[in-house]
Amino acid sequence: MIGIATHQTSRVDTLFWLAPLRGDRNAIPLLLILALSLVIGFLAVLAFGYFSDQTKIRSVKDRTQAHLLAVRLFQDNLAAVLQAYRKILWYTVQYLYLALKPSLIMLAPLLILVVYLNSYFGYEPVHPNESFLFTAQMASGQAMNDVNLQLPAGLSESALPVHIESRKEVVWRLTAAHAGNYQVQLLTDGQVFSKKITVSDRLVRILIGRWREHPYQHWLDPSESSLPSTAAIVEMRVGYIPRTIDLGWVQCDWTVILFAASILTALIFKKLLGIEI
């Protein structure tokens, strides 16, 4: 039997202790995102307060607000109003400059975190008995014609593969009988390449593809290193469906919720902590 790793999703791949709660596909990610936003918002405020020049930021914000008030107070005086507009723009630029340093400092860990979290929240895993697409992009037309897909037990092809000459791609439609992590293997030009496919009802970490020379590949999943630059396959991609969170009245990408909730949290904490943002 070729390559099935496990039928059970590993503990590492499940997100925290909530993952075993199979419940609502929408509610659990939403709760997790909100909880993370709380932590991120709090830490971001602390970091912003620490890395920024609070006195200058307070001063610049005060002056901006003063000139906003000036626009209203001296509305009959065109020169004063125009001067106030000019000052507002100037102080806004100053504020952005002052906010640049803490923003840049926070950007690095936040980007890393978000990229990492995207592997959990960005896509839904394949569900048992649901068909999905598995795509392989080849380096050459020859490799495309020679490619052979080997499936582990539990995975089956539900249609014949489609060859798209123009993009040098081969697309298979597959179905999984059970939940678990499956390793499919592609044989071409005497080389063997594997790709993990995650089938689950839980919130699990998902890596949609395996690429040639991808800078984050190993970091995102140590078990799946980048394809070598000389590989006959450029990319292998599983057709996981992008996850959207249903808020009742609108469908949102998880990053939007994280952004909004962490900003809101930060606004609350900044008041409690007396930090100017």
Binding site: A44, V45, A47, F48, D53, T55, K56, K61, D62, R63, T64, Q65, A66, L68, L69, A70, V71, R72, L73, F74, Q75, D76, N77, A79, A80, V81, Y85, I88, L89, T92, Y95, L96, Y97, L98, A99, L100, K101, P102, S103, L104, I105, M106, L107, A108, L110, L111, V114, V115, L117, N118, G122, P215, T255, L258, F259, S262, I263, A266, G274, I277
Partner: protein, 722 residues
């Protein structure tokens, strides 16, 4: 100076951070779906600036769309407003208490070149003050153009006719009418109401009605601010957060029996290891009907080796060097249930060894979040505060009692004065810039406070002996006048010939060596009686037998008859009996000799019936007592205290005064234009300014209109000597 953590904004671009920057750029240059999320850091920046820009943009759109209509309306109105105006702008700079004799002396010595220039090319004259020569009275007359009988201000204090207790004459704060009692709490149903007691209409209201924009800053007796088309920041008579006219705190590790000062409170620090703890008292708890004050605790960690102390109050933490003032520190008095009051105060580290002593200014109303209205529109104080930082809002912002009670020394008091003065200058120049047409009026009261407290250094033999070496402060008043001259110079640089500049003062200044307690004199002469066995009274007429009292004095210059039907326990019949008593008192008091000095202590007594006319003349004292130079109502008399001594030395630092015979303390009038101002009086200013803008003098105004020459000035004209 306050010690704060500061960082260089460009620290990120140091060498060691360049690598990190490149890494971040590298990440950014590899786009991925999730990278769209930039996180709260840049989110804050973007949101904050975007919000500002959005607001500005929206308001700009509104302003742009409506501008042609508004401008057309205003142009039509303004053309009408300024059609008969002789000048496009009038700038009134008030220097409270600037004395014409001192000004003349310093001009002659060449120390006030800008005033001398006005004297040479414009106008220089004495300005007759009001009866009595007290700031709230004179500035009320300035703004209304009326005698006190029409504006109802006769002193800082008025009296309650029933209880004979003092009341603030200018404003009154009333709590909510109804309260809801739940358990130990009593919730106010409605807001507290502040009402002004000054009557009549300030002249800027007339200007505003005519479409002329006005900026009015710190003119006394403008609290609470009244609505008018312009901006106004209230001045003298604005209370502190406790509702008083200024109550300082003094905290010390030295335990003394005294807990109260005049206008101040003393606290003993509680020691907790190396940290000292105390509190600042605030306003009364609004949810408790019994008087229970709110408090804000603070700690002090003294470091005698470094000569500094760290103070922590609320979320504020700062270090002070010995003798140093903090910035204005925001304090919040919370009551729970989301209620509270915000104030600001400054700390001064007075001493570190052997005892730790910290002075705290009265808690001013926070201009950024005012608990009581102190500006019109309300946002004007917020605007000023955001632009220039927090500033003192208390009416009598310079803590003269702190110096009188020797809690502050001369230098600290002077610093407080000049800090406030600098703030005021910034506000004034901003108002000047924002008022290219119309009226810009500002009153600086540092001149008054400094002269009150430093006159003792000007003359030998002053009873309030200098506390520091005389040479150190001998020239404080001269420097003050020079500073004021510099300010006028800067103003003159910023105005053109189409601006009329008026520099005025409400009164002059004289020495205050000897106090006269008229209540004691009235007791000794049988006009006032104490209850049996009492030799002296307490404060505010405690032990006074009103059923046998015919006259009493309260405040600085007023003498009242105890009129039947008017006062709560009046015995003097109105009409002939009162008239006779008035004449009798006038005759006896005028020329009253101080037996210790042999000098006349009262140079004039004026019957108010002849001084005032108007609907509020009945609230006036019956007599205004005009003390001669060197004398004034004693501190006891002002507080309604009857003692054994009629005359006594004034030992306080408050050694100069103006609450004397108003004929002896005229103010000043300077202008950059020629004004025919023979016998000019402060009451003339309002009708003259209205006239300058082509607005006829309202019938009720008592002042006369000066002839202001708006043609070019002949710089060769002879100087008019004061």
């Amino acid at each position: 100076m306050i010690t704060r953590r500061t960082r260089k904004p460009l620290a990120l671009f140091r060498k060691r951070n360049v690598g990190v920057l490149f890494l971040l750029l590298a990440i950014l240059l590899h786009p991925h779906q999730a990278h769209a999320y930039a996180g709260p850091g840049s989110g804050f920046a973007v949101l904050s600036s975007a919000w500002t820009l959005l607001l500005t943009f929206l308001y700009s759109v509104y302003a742009f769309v409506t501008w042609p209509f508004r401008q057309a309306f205003r142009l039509a109105r303004r053309r009408k407003s300024y059609r008969n105006a002789k000048f496009k702008r009038v700038v009134v700079v008030g220097f409270d208490g600037m004395d014409p004799e001192l000004a003349e002396r310093f001009m002659q010595q060449g120390k006030m070149p800008h005033f001398a220039k006005m004297r040479a090319t414009g106008t220089c004259s004495k300005l007759r003050t009001t009866f009595p020569a007290i700031s709230p009275v004179a500035w009320s007359t300035f703004q209304t153009g009326c005698n006190p009988g029409k504006h109802n201000i006769y002193d800082f204090l008025a009296r309650d006719l029933r209880s004979y207790l003092p009341l603030l004459s200018s404003a009154q704060v009333k709590g909510p009418r109804h309260r809801l009692r739940i358990g130990k709490y009593s919730f106010p149903l409605g807001k507290s109401h502040v009402s002004g007691l000054r009557r009549s209409i300030p002249f800027w209201h007339w200007l505003g009605k005519a479409g002329i924009f006005c900026s009015v800053i710190r003119v006394p007796v403008t609290f609470p601010p009244e609505k008018f088309p312009g901006v106004l920041l209230s001045g003298m008579c604005v209370p502190d957060l406790k509702g008083s006219q200024g109550t300082f705190c003094f905290h010390s590790t030295h335990n003394r029996a005294t807990t109260r000062y005049e206008s101040g409170v003393r606290f003993t620090f509680e020691k907790r290891g190396s940290v000292l703890q105390s509190y600042i008292p605030g306003p009364d708890h609004p949810l408790h009907e019994e008087s229970r004050e709110l408090r804000v605790e603070f700690t002090v960690r003294p470091d005698p080796i470094r000569g500094e102390a760290e103070i922590v109050i609320g979320t504020e933490r700062f270090k002070l060097k010995l003798g140093e003032y903090s910035e204005w520190i925001p304090v919040k008095f919370t009551t729970g249930f989301g209620m509270g009051a915000r104030g600001i105060c400054r700390f001064n580290l007075r001493q570190l060894e052997p005892e730790v002593e910290v002075y705290v200014t009265p808690v001013n109303i926070d201009p950024q979040s005012p608990s009581l209205p102190i500006a019109h529109p309300n946002s004007y104080s917020i605007y000023l505060s955001k632009l220039f930082g927090r500033f003192s809002t208390l009416g009598l912002a310079e803590d003269t009692w702190g110096l009188n009670e020797e809690v502050l020394d001369d230098a600290s008091f002077l610093q407080q004065c000049y800090d406030n003065h600098s703030d005021r200058e910034e506000m004034f120049f901003d108002a000047l810039e924002k008022t290219p047409q119309g009226l810009c009026a500002c009153v600086f009261d540092t001149t008054d406070r400094v002269q009150h407290m430093f006159w003792r250094y000007m003359e030998d033999g002053n009873s309030a002996a200098p506390r520091d070496s005389k040479s150190e402060h001998a020239q404080v008043i001269e420097h003050l006048y020079q500073r004021v001259d510099g300010l006028v110079g800067r103003i003159m640089q910023q105005i053109d010939p189409r601006t009329l500049l008026l520099v005025i003062s409400d009164h002059g200044f004289k020495s205050f060596n000897r106090g006269v307690n008229l209540n004691s004199w009235l007791l000794q002469n049988g006009y006032l009686a104490l209850h049996r066995d009492a030799i002296e009274s307490g404060d505010w007429f405690q032990n006074v037998d009103w059923s046998s009292t015919r006259a009493y004095t309260l405040g600085l210059n007023g003498l009242y008859l105890n009129i039947a039907g008017r006062e709560g326990h009046g015995i003097v019949k109105p009409g002939a009996e009162a008239e006779e008593l008035t004449q009798e008192l006038s005759q006896k008091l005028e020329g009253l000799i101080d037996p210790e000095t042999g000098r006349v202590s009262i140079s004039g007594v004026f019957a108010c019936g002849a001084l005032y006319a108007g609907p509020y003349a009945t609230n006036a004292p019956d007599l205004i007592v005009g003390y001669s130079e060197g004398h004034r109502a004693s501190w006891d008399a002002v507080n309604g205290r009857v003692t054994l001594k009629v005359f006594e030395d004034n030992p306080k630092a408050w050694s100069g005064d103006h609450c004397i015979d108003p004929r002896l303390v005229p103010g000043v009038l300077f202008s950059n234009q020629k004004i025919e101002a023979q016998g000019a009086a402060i009451v003339d200013v309002a009708p003259t300014i209205l006239n300058v803008f082509g607005i006829p003098k309202p019938h009720h105004m008592d002042g006369r209109v000066w002839k202001v020459n708006s043609t070019s000035i002949d710089s060769t004209a002879p100087n008019q000597v004061i």
